[in-house]
C-alpha cells in the first residue's frame, strides 16, 4: 500500500489493533476521575442556571429579556445561529472530508459529530424559548387540524424548522451508523452482564461480517453524500432568516456562503477547543496528534479568510449599491454605538486566525487553544453584530433603540453551555470518543510503526 513519505504519521506510538481498542476504550472503563466530577458539577451548575432562566422566561414572559419594540431578536437568535454554526464541524468533517478521502478525519470525526448533535440540541433550544407562547409552539408543525389551517411555507423560520430537524436526524443516524461497529466492540469487551445487555441492544446485533461492512461502507458514503449538501443547506437556510428580510444589513445575497464558511470556521474552532482538552485529559495524544490539529488550523485559516473577505464585500456592496439605508447600517456597525462589538468581531475573526500562517503558532497547542476560543468569541459577536446592530437602527430613526441583555438571557446562554458540556462528558463515558474501527482501518497506512515496516 502506498503511503506518502512526506506526510506525518496520523497515529503515533506504534500501536497494534488490540492496543488501539484498549486505548480508545480506556476513558469508558473504571471510575471517572475527579476532574470529570468537577467538570460535570460545573456544567450541571450552569445547566441549573439555565433552568432558572428558562422558568423566568416562560413564566413572566419575554419581557424578562432586554428586547424592545425595535429589537425583536438579540441574544436568543445570536446564540441559536452560533450553536448551529458550531454544529457544522462534525458533519462537515465526517461527510465532506470523507468524500474527499481525508484520512485524518478518522481520529476526530466521532467526537466532532457528537459535538454537532449536542450543539444542534443547544441551538434548537433557542428558537423554542424565544417564542412568546412556547406552549403553542406546536403550531409550527404542519399537522392536520380542525382549524384546517396549515403553516406558512414562505417563512424562513419554517424552513429552519425543516432544515434543523432534518439536519439533526440525518446527523444522528450518520453518527449512529458509524457507532454501530464500535458499540459492538464495547459489547464484546464488556464484562458486566447488564452492560453487555445494554450495549448488545444498542449494537443492533453487529457481527462484523464482510457483507455488513461492505454495505456499511456504502451507507456511510451515500450518507456523506447526502449530508454534505445538507450541511451547506442548513446554514444557508439559517442565513435566509436574514437574507430574505428587508432590514438593511440583513438583506444581503452573500449571506449563504458567508454563513456556511463562518459556521465551519466556528465549528472547527470549537472542535479544537474541545479536543485539545480531551486528548490531554483522556490520554489520546497519540490518536489526536498535532497533525490533526494542524490540519484543522489550516481549515480555520481558509474559512476565516473567506469570512474576512465576506465582511469586506459587505461593506463594498453597501457602498456600491448606493442604498442609503444599507450604507448607514454598515457605517453604524463600524462606528455606531455597537462599534465595540464590531471590532471585537473583526479582531477575533479576521486577524487572529491569520496567526495560523505561522507554523510555530499552528503547532503550539496553547496558542491554538487560545486562538480557537478567540474565534468562538468572534463568531458569537459576528451574529450579535448582524442581528442587533442591524435591528437597532433600521429604517425609521424614530424607532431606533438600544439593547442591553438581562440576567435571564445570560442564564439561557450559560445554560446551553451547561447542557453542552454535561452531554459531552456523558458522551465520553458512554461511547468511544474515537471511531475505533475507522482508526484501525487507517492504522497501517498512517501510523508511524507501519511506515517503517513498509519502507523496507
Amino acid at each position: 500500500m502506498y503511503v506518502s513519505p512526506i506526510r506525518e504519521p496520523l497515529i503515533k506510538g506504534g500501536k497494534d489493533y488490540s492496543q488501539v481498542t484498549k486505548d480508545i476504550m480506556a476513558p469508558m472503563a473504571g471510575k471517572p476521575s475527579i476532574y470529570w466530577y468537577v467538570g460535570i458539577a460545573i456544567s450541571g451548575g450552569a445547566l441549573l442556571f439555565g433552568a432558572w432562566a428558562t422558568f423566568v422566561t416562560v413564566y413572566y414572559g419575554i419581557g424578562s429579556w432586554g428586547l424592545n419594540k425595535t429589537i425583536g431578536w438579540a441574544w436568543d437568535i445570536t446564540n441559536f445561529v452560533w450553536w448551529v454554526g458550531i454544529g457544522h464541524a462534525g458533519t462537515f468533517i465526517s461527510a465532506i472530508l470523507l468524500l474527499f478521502r481525508q484520512k485524518w478525519r478518522t481520529s476526530i470525526n466521532r467526537s466532532a459529530e457528537a459535538m454537532t448533535l449536542i450543539a444542534i440540541a443547544c441551538a434548537g433550544f433557542f428558537p423554542l424559548i424565544h417564542m412568546g407562547r412556547i406552549v403553542l409552539g406546536f403550531f409550527i408543525f404542519p399537522y392536520p387540524n380542525t382549524r384546517e389551517l396549515w403553516v406558512n411555507f414562505n417563512s424562513p423560520l419554517l424552513w429552519d424548522v425543516f432544515a434543523l430537524t432534518t439536519y439533526f436526524l440525518v446527523s444522528l443516524i450518520f453518527w449512529y451508523v458509524g457507532l454501530i461497529p464500535d458499540i459492538g466492540t464495547v459489547r464484546d469487551k464488556a464484562k458486566n452482564k447488564i452492560r453487555k445487555a445494554i450495549y448488545g441492544f444498542l449494537s443492533f446485533g453487529w457481527t462484523g461480517s464482510a457483507k455488513h461492512w461492505s454495505r456499511h461502507e456504502t451507507v456511510s458514503l451515500i450518507l456523506a453524500g447526502l449530508a454534505a449538501p445538507l450541511v451547506l443547506s442548513v446554514h444557508t437556510i439559517v442565513s435566509f432568516d436574514f437574507a430574505t428580510s428587508v432590514i438593511p444589513g440583513w438583506h444581503t445575497t452573500i449571506f449563504p456562503p458567508y454563513f456556511v464558511s463562518g459556521a465551519v470556521f466556528s465549528g472547527f474552532a470549537m472542535v479544537l477547543t474541545l479536543l485539545i482538552v480531551t486528548r490531554k485529559a483522556l490520554n489520546l495524544e497519540q490518536y489526536i496528534t498535532k497533525v490533526h490539529i494542524e490540519s484543522m488550523t489550516k481549515i480555520i485559516i481558509l474559512t476565516g479568510s473567506i469570512v474576512g473577505i465576506a465582511y469586506i464585500t459587505e461593506f463594498f456592496m453597501a457602498w456600491y449599491s448606493g442604498v442609503e439605508y444599507e450604507q448607514y447600517a454598515f457605517m453604524n456597525r463600524a462606528f455606531g454605538p455597537y462599534a465595540w462589538a464590531y471590532w471585537i468581531m473583526m479582531t477575533c475573526n479576521v486577524i487572529t486566525p491569520q496567526l495560523f500562517w505561522f507554523k510555530k503558532i499552528r503547532t503550539n497547542l496553547v496558542a491554538v487553544f487560545i486562538i480557537s476560543i478567540f474565534v468562538n468569541i468572534g463568531m458569537w459577536f459576528e451574529r450579535f453584530v448582524i442581528i442587533v446592530t442591524s435591528l437597532h437602527r433600521d429604517y425609521l430613526p424614530s424607532s431606533w433603540t438600544m439593547y442591553t441583555p438581562t440576567m435571564a438571557e445570560v442564564g439561557l446562554y450559560v445554560g446551553t453551555f451547561g447542557l453542552f458540556f454535561t452531554l459531552f462528558m456523558v458522551f465520553i463515558r458512554v461511547f468511544p470518543v474515537i471511531a475505533i474501527a475507522e482508526v484501525k482501518s487507517v492504522l497501517k497506512s498512517s501510523s508511524d510503526e507501519k511506515k517503517h515496516t513498509h519502507h523496507e
Partner: protein, 993 residues
C-alpha cells in the same frame, strides 16, 4: 351615526353596580346577558382564551371527558326599549372638565360607555376631540373614585350627610356667617341657576370661581379696553396671518380643538385653494403650536411684553400715530409689522400671557390691525375661563383669617394646584363646614369634613354654554356606578329643593332655552331633539360691549420696562396635552401619552436648551432643582430658548391613585403672581444640581431623519410652482419598482388611508382614541423606558436644522397595511396574512410570538406583549400591571369587539377592522353599497385636524383615492416596494427659504 337619547332617568335601567359590589342591588331590571358580556371581560374567559390549549394538552388524552366550565346566559327580566344586547348605542353628551370643552358622543355597549367620539353636530368642536376628552371614559372607571359620601373619614349615607350639612348651613345662616362655593369656571346655565338658588337660600353665600389655568389677565385686559371682563371668540380660519405670543392654541390654550379646526382650514391644501395662512410664533419653551408654526421665534417670557409693546409701537408708527419711547426689542419686529400691515383685517395676534397689561397691548395691536369683527368677535364670548385670580387669593386670606364659616368645593383641587397650597390647607382647617364634591380622589378631599362625591360626567345630566349662544347637553350614558350624586343636586337638596337635577335642568331649559327655539313646537319635542343632538345653537350675541378704549393700553405701553437682565434664566410653567393641570393624572392612558414635543411620558422634567446644558454641564436625566423646587430630571430640548427652562405642571399628585401618585413633581408652588394675576413664568431662577439621576421615559430617542426622505416637505412658494415639489423622488422611485411576481389585485374593497402632514398638528388625540378603541394595554413607566410602549399609532417627531432652533416635523405612523407586506412572508404559522380587502391581518390567537414579523417590519409598528399586561395570560400570578389597568372596574372600558391580547403575542393597528366590519354589515342589511366616509377608524374620528382620511382605494371617487392621486402624496419608504396602503401628503410650510 345613530345616537339615542333617554327620555328619563328611569328608563336608563342599566345597572352595573352589581358588578362592583358583591350584594345585588335592588334593581331587578337587569340585563344579565349583558352582565355576562361584562363578566367575560372583567373576570372570566376572554383573558383565559388559551388556557385550554396551554396546559391541558398533556392530560387531554387521558381526561377524555374533561368538561368545559359552565357558562351562564342570563337574560333581562324586562328588555329595555332601544337596547339590544351586543349592539352599541351612541348618546350625545358634553365633556367639560373646567379646562377643555368638547361636544361628544358616548359609545355605549351593553350598558357600559366604552368610547368617546366627537359630535359632528357641534359647530364649536365639529366632531373633533382632544386626548383628554378621548381618555375621559377611562376616568369613569377610575379605581380611586369616591364611592360613597363620607363624613369625618367615615362612610355615611346621603340622608345623614344632608341632614348634618343643612343644619350647619342653617346655623351659619343664623349667625350671618359666610359660605363660599368654590368651583371651577361654571358654564352650565342650570348649574348657575342651582347656585343662584343656593345663594338665595343662604344669603351669606359667595360663589367664587377658580381656574387652575387662569385667563384672569385677559379678562381684566378686556374689562379695561372693552368695559367687560370677557374672552372674545377667535376665528383662526379667517386669519391669513397669525402671530402668537406663547399662546399654545393648538394644544392647551383656551379651546384648542375649536382652534385646531379653524386653523387647519387655512392650512390644508387638498381642495386646491393654493393658499395658506402664515403662522409666526414667539415662545421660550417648545410648544405644540410653536412646533407647527411657519416661523418660530425664540423669546424669553420675561421679554415677551416688551416685544409686544415694540410691535405695537412700530405699528403705531407705521400708521402715523405717535410712538412711545421704548427699550429696544430683543427681537426684530419691523418685518413682522410690515407683514401684519399687509394682512390688515385678516390677521390675528394672540398672547398666552396671563398679564393684563400684555393682553391690553395685544388688544391694541389687534385693534390697529382691524382684527376685531373679522378674526376676533367681541359679541360671542368664550366662557370657559371666568375666574379672577385675585378673588381666590382673597378667599384664602379670608379663610386664614377665620372669616369663612363654610366652604363647598366643587370639583377643584386647590390643595394640590393652588400656588400656596399649604396656606389654603391651613385656611381650610379654620373653616367650620367644609364640603368637597369631587369625582375622583384628590388632595383636597383629605382636608374636608364632608365628601359628597359628584357623578362622573358620563353618569350625569348637565348643560353647558361654552360660547355665547352655543348650548350643549350632557346625558347619562350609564347609571351611577357608585353611591354618588350630582353636585348640583346636592346644592338643590341643601337649599331645600328636592327636585332631581334632570327635572330641574329640564325646567331651566323650558324657561330659558325653549324660548329661543325656532323649529320645535312642544317642549318635549325640543328637549328630545336637543338631548339627541347634544347641542343647541341659537346664534345669539352678547350686548353691552363698549368700543375699543386704547387709553389703558397706551398707558401700559408707556410704562413698559425691561423685566429681566440678559443673562438671567427664565422658567416657564406649562401644561401638556396629556395630564394637563393634573386633574387627569390618574388616567393611565394620559400618563402614557408621549408629549408631542419631547416624546416623554410618565412624569415631568426640566426642559433645557442644549446651549445652557453645555454651559451648566448638565446631562439628560440629571436631577436639578429650580428655585428650591423638588428635584427633577433634566431633558435637553432642542428649540428651547437659550436661557429659558420649562417644566410641566400637573404631575406630582399625592392622593390620586396608583398610576399618578409620585409620578413627577408638583411645581404649582412656583407659580408667581404679578399685580393681580397668576404668572406662569419666573425670571432669574436659580438652578442647582442635587446629584443623582432619574430616568425619563421617552418613546423616541433618535431625533434626526438622517437625511432620509421620511417626511417630505416643501414651501408654499415651491408648491405653487410645482405641486410635486419636495416629492420629486417619488417619480424616480416609481420607475425603479419591479417585482418578479404580478401585483396583487383586490376586487371590491381595498382599504387605504391618507394622512395630510400639513394638517396634522401632533396633538395626540388619535393615540388615545386608538388605545380606547383597541384595548391597547398600558405598560407603565419602566416598560416605556425599556422602549416597549404598545401604542398602535405613534406620532414620530424629527428635528431638522439648527439644534438650537430646529424645525419640527411630525408624522403619524401606524401599520401601513402593505400589499407586499414583509411581515406576512416571515410568519411561520400564518398568523399574519393579507385579506382580500387589502388589510394586513393579525390573528392573535394563532401567534406564537417569534417576533420575526416585528423585526422585518420596516416601519416598526408591530408591538409585542412582553409581559402579561392585560391579565389574559394562561398563567396565574405573572401579571404585569403597574397602572392597575386590569382591575374589574378598569376592565369595563374594554371594547368587547376587540380581543384582549395575551402575553407573548404580537399586535398592531388593524385599521379598526371591527368598525369596517360593522359598517359593512350595516350596508348589507340595508341592501346598499358602502358609502365613502362611512367607515371611520378611531384615529380619524378623533382627529381635530381632519388629517386622516380613510376609505376604499378601488373607488376612484372616494376621498382617499383623491388624496392618493394628489401630487403631494407619497408612501413612507416606498422604495422598498412593500406597497403601503397608507399615503402621506407632503408638509408645506409658508415660509421663505
Amino acid at each position: 351615526m345613530e345616537n339615542k337619547y333617554f327620555k328619563s332617568l328611569e328608563e336608563l335601567s342599566i345597572d352595573i353596580t352589581r358588578e362592583t359590589s358583591e350584594k345585588p342591588a335592588g334593581d331587578k331590571q337587569f340585563i344579565l346577558e349583558m352582565q355576562q358580556e361584562v363578566k367575560k371581560m372583567t373576570s372570566g374567559t376572554r383573558r383565559d382564551f388559551l388556557k385550554a390549549f396551554g396546559f391541558t394538552i398533556a392530560s387531554a388524552a387521558i381526561a377524555t371527558s374533561c368538561e368545559q366550565p359552565v357558562r351562564k346566559a342570563i337574560p333581562f327580566l324586562i328588555q329595555p326599549e332601544g337596547i339590544i344586547p351586543g349592539k352599541a348605542n351612541y348618546y350625545a353628551s358634553s365633556f367639560f372638565d373646567g379646562i377643555d370643552y368638547g361636544s361628544v358622543l358616548v359609545k355605549v355597549r351593553d350598558g357600559r360607555p366604552i368610547k368617546i367620539e366627537g359630535n359632528t353636530l357641534s359647530s364649536i368642536t365639529k366632531g373633533g376631540t382632544n386626548a383628554r376628552a378621548q381618555a375621559s371614559v377611562l376616568s369613569l372607571y377610575d379605581n380611586e373614585r369616591h364611592k360613597f359620601p363620607v363624613f369625618d373619614g367615615q362612610e355615611t349615607t346621603w340622608e345623614q350627610a344632608d341632614e348634618k350639612i343643612i343644619s350647619q348651613l342653617n346655623s351659619i345662616k343664623v349667625k350671618q356667617g359666610k359660605v363660599v362655593l368654590l368651583s371651577p369656571t361654571v358654564i352650565s346655565p342650570s348649574t348657575k341657576a342651582a347656585i343662584d338658588e343656593f345663594v338665595a337660600a343662604y344669603p351669606g353665600t359667595e360663589h367664587i370661581q377658580y381656574d387652575v389655568l387662569s385667563a384672569s389677565g385677559m379678562l381684566k385686559a378686556n374689562e379695561k379696553t372693552y368695559g367687560k371682563a370677557f374672552i372674545p371668540s377667535y376665528r383662526f380660519e379667517k386669519a391669513e396671518m397669525i402671530v402668537s405670543f406663547d399662546a399654545d392654541f393648538l394644544g392647551t390654550w383656551l379651546s384648542p380643538v375649536e382652534y385646531t379646526k379653524q386653523y387647519i382650514k387655512n392650512r390644508k391644501l387638498t381642495s386646491g385653494q393654493g393658499r395658506m395662512s402664515r403662522h409666526i410664533h414667539f415662545e421660550g419653551a417648545m410648544s405644540l403650536t410653536g412646533s407647527n408654526a411657519d416661523h418660530r421665534v425664540q423669546l424669553k417670557p420675561s421679554q415677551q411684553k416688551l416685544v409686544v409693546a415694540n410691535l405695537l409701537n412700530v405699528l403705531r408708527g407705521k400708521m402715523g400715530m405717535d410712538a412711545a419711547f421704548l427699550p429696544a426689542s430683543p427681537v426684530e419686529v419691523e418685518k413682522l409689522a410690515d407683514e401684519l400691515m399687509q394682512c390688515k383685517g385678516k390677521s390675528l395676534v394672540v398672547s398666552g400671557s396671563n398679564d393684563a397689561e400684555e393682553q391690553m397691548l395685544v388688544n391694541a395691536v389687534n385693534h390697529l390691525l382691524e382684527s376685531y369683527g373679522t378674526t376676533i368677535l367681541t359679541d360671542v364670548h368664550t366662557k370657559i375661563r371666568q375666574a379672577d385670580d385675585a378673588r381666590m387669593d382673597a378667599l384664602v386670606q379670608e379663610m386664614n383669617d377665620g372669616k369663612v364659616d363654610g366652604i363647598i368645593i366643587f370639583d377643584v383641587n386647590p390643595a394640590y394646584d393652588y400656588p400656596e397650597r399649604e396656606k389654603f390647607i391651613e385656611g381650610l382647617k379654620k373653616v367650620g363646614l367644609s364640603v368637597a364634591m369631587p369625582v375622583l380622589d384628590d388632595e383636597t378631599s383629605y382636608h374636608v369634613k364632608f365628601i359628597c362625591p359628584d357623578h362622573h360626567y358620563l353618569e350625569a345630566w348637565n348643560d353647558f354654554e361654552p360660547m355665547t349662544g352655543y348650548y350643549s347637553l350632557a346625558q347619562p350614558a350609564i347609571r351611577p356606578i357608585f353611591k354618588t350624586r350630582a353636585a348640583q343636586e346636592s346644592l338643590l337638596r341643601w337649599s331645600g329643593n328636592s327636585a332631581d337635577f334632570r327635572t330641574y335642568m329640564a325646567g331651566v331649559w323650558e324657561q330659558k332655552m325653549f324660548t329661543k327655539a325656532t323649529a320645535e313646537i312642544s317642549f318635549t319635542d325640543f328637549w328630545n331633539k336637543k338631548v339627541h343632538d347634544g347641542v343647541f345653537e341659537t346664534g345669539e350675541k352678547e350686548s353691552g360691549i363698549n368700543s375699543f378704549n386704547g387709553d389703558n393700553a397706551f398707558a401700559a405701553l408707556n410704562s413698559i420696562k425691561v423685566e429681566s437682565s440678559e443673562d438671567s434664566t427664565d422658567l416657564v410653567l406649562y401644561t401638556n396635552v396629556s395630564v394637563g393641570s393634573g386633574k387627569h393624572a390618574n388616567n393611565p392612558w394620559l400618563q402614557e401619552l408621549p408629549d408631542p414635543v419631547s416624546k416623554a411620558c410618565w412624569g415631568n422634567y426640566v426642559a433645557i436648551s442644549p446651549r445652557l446644558a453645555i454651559e451648566l454641564n448638565l446631562k439628560n436625566e440629571e436631577l436639578i432643582s429650580v428655585n428650591g423646587s423638588p428635584a427633577l430630571p433634566v431633558l435637553i430640548q432642542p428649540g428651547q430658548e437659550y436661557k429659558t427652562i420649562a417644566v410641566a405642571l400637573g404631575y406630582g399628585r399625592e392622593k390620586a391613585g396608583v398610576p399618578a401618585n409620585g409620578v413627577g413633581q408638583n411645581l404649582f408652588g412656583l407659580i408667581g403672581k404679578d399685580a393681580e394675576n397668576k404668572k406662569y413664568w419666573l425670571s432669574d431662577v436659580n438652578i442647582s444640581t442635587t446629584g443623582g439621576k432619574h430616568p425619563i421615559a421617552i418613546t423616541q430617542s433618535h431625533h434626526s431623519m438622517e437625511g432620509r426622505a421620511i417626511i417630505r416637505e416643501t414651501t408654499l412658494e415651491a408648491y405653487l410652482e410645482n405641486p410635486q415639489s419636495g416629492n420629486e423622488v417619488r417619480l424616480e422611485i416609481k420607475e425603479h419598482l419591479k417585482s418578479m411576481y404580478p401585483k396583487a389585485e383586490f376586487d371590491g374593497l381595498h382599504w387605504g388611508m391618507a394622512i395630510d402632514l400639513n394638517a396634522c398638528t401632533g396633538c395626540n388625540a388619535c393615540v388615545v382614541a386608538c388605545s380606547a378603541e383597541n384595548n391597547v394595554p398600558v405598560v407603565g413607566k419602566e416598560q416605556v423606558i425599556m422602549a416597549r410602549e404598545m401604542h398602535w399609532i405613534r406620532i414620530d417627531r424629527y428635528y431638522k436644522g439648527d439644534p438650537d432652533n430646529p424645525e419640527i416635523l411630525r408624522q403619524p405612523v401606524m401599520c401601513q397595511h402593505c400589499d407586499n407586506a414583509p411581515c406576512e412572508n416571515v410568519c411561520p404559522v400564518a398568523a399574519t396574512t393579507h385579506s382580500n380587502e387589502g388589510l394586513n391581518q393579525m390573528a392573535y390567537n394563532r401567534c406564537i410570538g417569534t417576533r420575526y414579523c416585528n423585526n422585518n417590519c420596516p416601519y416598526k409598528v408591530r408591538r409585542f406583549n412582553f409581559f402579561d399586561y392585560t391579565g389574559a395570560d394562561t398563567m396565574k400570578g405573572n401579571r404585569y400591571d403597574p397602572a392597575e389597568m386590569t382591575t374589574d372596574l378598569r376592565r369595563m372600558v374594554l371594547n368587547p369587539d376587540v380581543t384582549v391580547r395575551a402575553k407573548g403575542v404580537i399586535e398592531k393597528c388593524s385599521f379598526c377592522v371591527q368598525r369596517i366590519q360593522e359598517k359593512k354589515l350595516k350596508a348589507k342589511t340595508e341592501n346598499r353599497m358602502l358609502r365613502d366616509g362611512e367607515v371611520v377608524p378611531a384615529c380619524a374620528q378623533a382627529c381635530p385636524a381632519e388629517a386622516i382620511v380613510f376609505g376604499n382605494l378601488n373607488d376612484k371617487e372616494s376621498m382617499v383615492s383623491k388624496y392618493f392621486a394628489d401630487q403631494r402624496n407619497y408612501h413612507l419608504l416606498e422604495e422598498l416596494h412593500v406597497l403601503p396602503s397608507v399615503g402621506y401628503l407632503t408638509k408645506v410650510k409658508n415660509k421663505t427659504v
